[in-house]
Amino acid sequence: MSAKLFELTEQPLSQDDILRRVSRFDCGGVVTFAGTVRGATATGNGARQTDFLVYEAYVPMAEKMMARIGAEIQDRWPLVKGVSILHRIGRCEIEEPTVLIAVATPHRDDGCFEACRYAIERLKEIVPIWKQENWSDGEVWVEGPRQPELDVSTPNQPPT
């Protein structure tokens, strides 16, 4: 299989496709995480409706960082045989998957659940991809939580 394991794409993501990318003769368990676009988000004062999302990425660095997460997983869970991370860029509609992460191991107790969870947490820390939320009355670029060790803000930066 020559498909890339770490890829940003404008095309719809497929869980069957990512399963094929990581499936191996010697693996019996694959855990896949799908992040999908929520249409409604509960807030303090009722639900807020999202119309659609737009994702922007620093593509070459994002693919490099996704591959780094794969390498980190191999270090931490040496029984893992396959990792793939696919992320959408461009416009994503409600209920569409925006990110897929698949981890294959010989058996289900070999770390596939833990490694998949680790990958989604790390993705939100180090992979340069940003989401723009679009509502009926406007849009905003969402910024994630600050990673203090990466912050290059000036000393004027207010503490968070």
């Binding site: 989604i120 340069p128 989401k131 723009q132 910024e143 994630g144 939580p145 912050d151 290059v152 930066q157």
Partner: protein, 82 residues
Amino acid sequence: MNVRLILFAGLRQAAGFKSDTVSLPESSTVGDLLDRRVPNLRDRTFYVAVNEEFAQRDTVLHDGDEVALLPPVSGGIQPSSR
């Protein structure tokens, strides 16, 4: 020397430009570049990558470097609470 500056998402919007080539004295750092070209971003939280690797304010730049200004990542899925 010249470095390539690129901005993304909300930083691009705030700075009002997507990319630029900036001339700097030799041995300039990331901090020097930021002070010279995007002083208006002083109050924002962001990260910097030099040639696709995370860098710090005191990272020394070289001719031809690509310097990317990165807002805190919001890819993956929506946050667990707001």
